[in-house]
Symmetry: C2
Subunit: 328 residues, 2 copies
């Protein structure tokens, strides 16, 4: 019998989950929950209900794992512990600094109800974290580097849109190739913010807006742009739609370190992602961890888990013998 | 108290384990076991005993994890199940086709004695397998590619040394850059053996040997070289010592796949290693999994495990809260 999945929140991420379920025949989409009027939400899967978020708890015997697709700022800190009362849950909580408190809240709720609550799943936190961990355990005393991009930063795009005279904008974070090469060479460079990434902005200005002033406001914006080399391109709304509609992202996790009695041998471990769609890739990771959450709970495990706590075999639809035979 | 490690076999791998223990303060080297005369084996660590392999079982209360450093052809199939009667064990068994039977033998012995037997740990099998598994779970229906090198193949170097007139040799496996680029582009190329790797050989010939004949024998050797584009360089013994004394290796695991309702978005996941010393890096992985074996056994787990069965957190000397705070 397929593992029954619920989607809580139907934006880019929720839609990505729906697509990912289609790619995994051992999973079944059972229902989608929304805070909007359910009648106004059209989903892709035929014969699956869209329900009110308020009615989620009524589905507790119909859904094995609820995947939460809300935001980390205000949605998930409330929703994940709440829904863990009724379901195994998986979220992509990505406010790194607040992970410890989120973990505690979900752990308490999930232990009390006897469920597994899997948090901070995706690619960063998620696959990037895993690669940092594995590489740190293999090469203690080495150096870690994480680069992001080339990809769209939603937060930075939003910041530009808030400037007066800006109609729409898309911001790309771009890793500096020479910095990547210096890291890969094993030189262990100390890199400033400016040396690691550049920022490229595509801006649609309102008619008659002062372009010079908009550009100045962008490149000097504290936290977002002031510490980076930023280039600004003004383009038409049509160009933005045509050339910048996607949500690509990716990045690199690199660890360098040495082995040998006197540290005489150098090593470079590198993991990289090149993603056409950030939310769809994140969704694909979430869905694999939903499978793991279900299985771990079946085996009697409860409480909050992160990617660090999940033995990789739980993620696969294949059994241990098949994995050892074909993938080890 | 430190986790007490035994090393069984003191070649390149055993020496690598000894160096890796030095880099991990929570581990302690307790004894080294050898089939040679123990008095003839000098190790790097002061005040640690070198003992006869036959006496290993006498150390069963002194050693928490025995790391086996023998070969996969004849040593490990016998030694790992045997030593699992007395210790938690970790090996780097790398004959892919025989992993299922090795698993069964170690599983039976380890379950009977109440130990954990961790097999096929290293980078391939090992870290490469993990990356194949994670990537397969995230992108079902995608394509897998593994490239090896640039690095020294011991088996191919040995094959050259067996040719009449050859005094010494070193063989490098080199991935074809254009094939790597084609894979990364997401084109899902079908690649022949010849298209994926080239082989480069540095040969020291005996005086008066027929170089033309040696070269011909190398490039036409079935299984080893016939299916590859192979170049042969004749060099002096001094040059071999000076330029080819290291044992570098590495490689790439790449998976490409798509997401979206109609597979409209492409993704590339890539993991790569660039290693100055193949045995020392393998040793560093083994040591991290020795830590995991000890902990999993402490928690009551027994039987044979592979990297697929180990939750990543077990590999780290840091506890869960620290990992979530600093590495997630």
């Amino acid at each position: 019998m397929a593992i029954r999945i619920g989607i809580f929140g139907y934006g880019n991420l929720g839609k990505g989950i729906e697509c990912a379920i289609k790619h995994n025949p051992d999973l079944e989409l059972k229902a989608v929950f929304t805070r909007r009027n359910p009648d106004s939400v059209k989903i892709l899967t035929e014969d699956v209900k869209v329900c009110s978020a308020e009615d989620a708890s009524k589905w507790k015997d119909e859904i094995d794992v609820m995947i939460l697709c809300g935001g980390s700022a205000t949605d998930l800190p409330v929703q994940t512990p709440k829904l863990a009362e009724y379901f195994n849950v998986v979220d992509s909580f990505d406010t790194h600094a607040r992970i410890p408190e989120h973990f505690e809240a979900v752990d308490e709720a999930a232990k009390k109800s006897g469920h597994v609550g899997m948090i901070s799943v995706g690619w960063d936190p998620g696959m990037f974290s895993l690669n940092r961990l594995y590489a740190n355990c293999i090469l203690p005393g080495g150096h870690d580097y994480t680069f992001w991009g080339k990809g769209v930063s939603q937060g930075h795009s939003d910041a530009i849109r808030r400037i007066a005279g800006v109609k729409d904008a898309r911001q790309y974070t771009i890793p500096v190739e020479s910095a990547l090469e210096a890291v890969r060479s094993g030189k262990n460079p100390e890199l400033t913010t400016r040396e690691k990434h550049t920022r490229e902005c595509f801006v649609v200005a309102e008619e008659g807006a002062d372009l010079k002033k908009i550009e100045e406001e962008i490149v000097t914006m504290p936290n977002y742009f002031a510490d980076y080399d930023t280039t600004v391109h003004f383009i038409s709304e049509e160009e933005l739609q045509r050339d910048h509609a996607g949500i690509p992202h990716g990045g690199f996790v690199i660890r360098t370190g040495s082995t040998g009695w006197n540290d005489e041998n150098k090593h470079v471990i590198e993991y990289s992602l090149k993603l056409d769609s950030n939310p769809e890739f994140t969704s694909s990771v979430l869905v694999a961890y939903a499978r793991a959450a279900y299985r771990m709970n079946k085996e009697g495990q409860t409480g909050c888990k992160t990617v660090f706590d999940v033995a990789p075999a739980y993620l696969s639809a294949q059994d241990g013998a098949e994995l050892r035979k074909h993938m080890l």
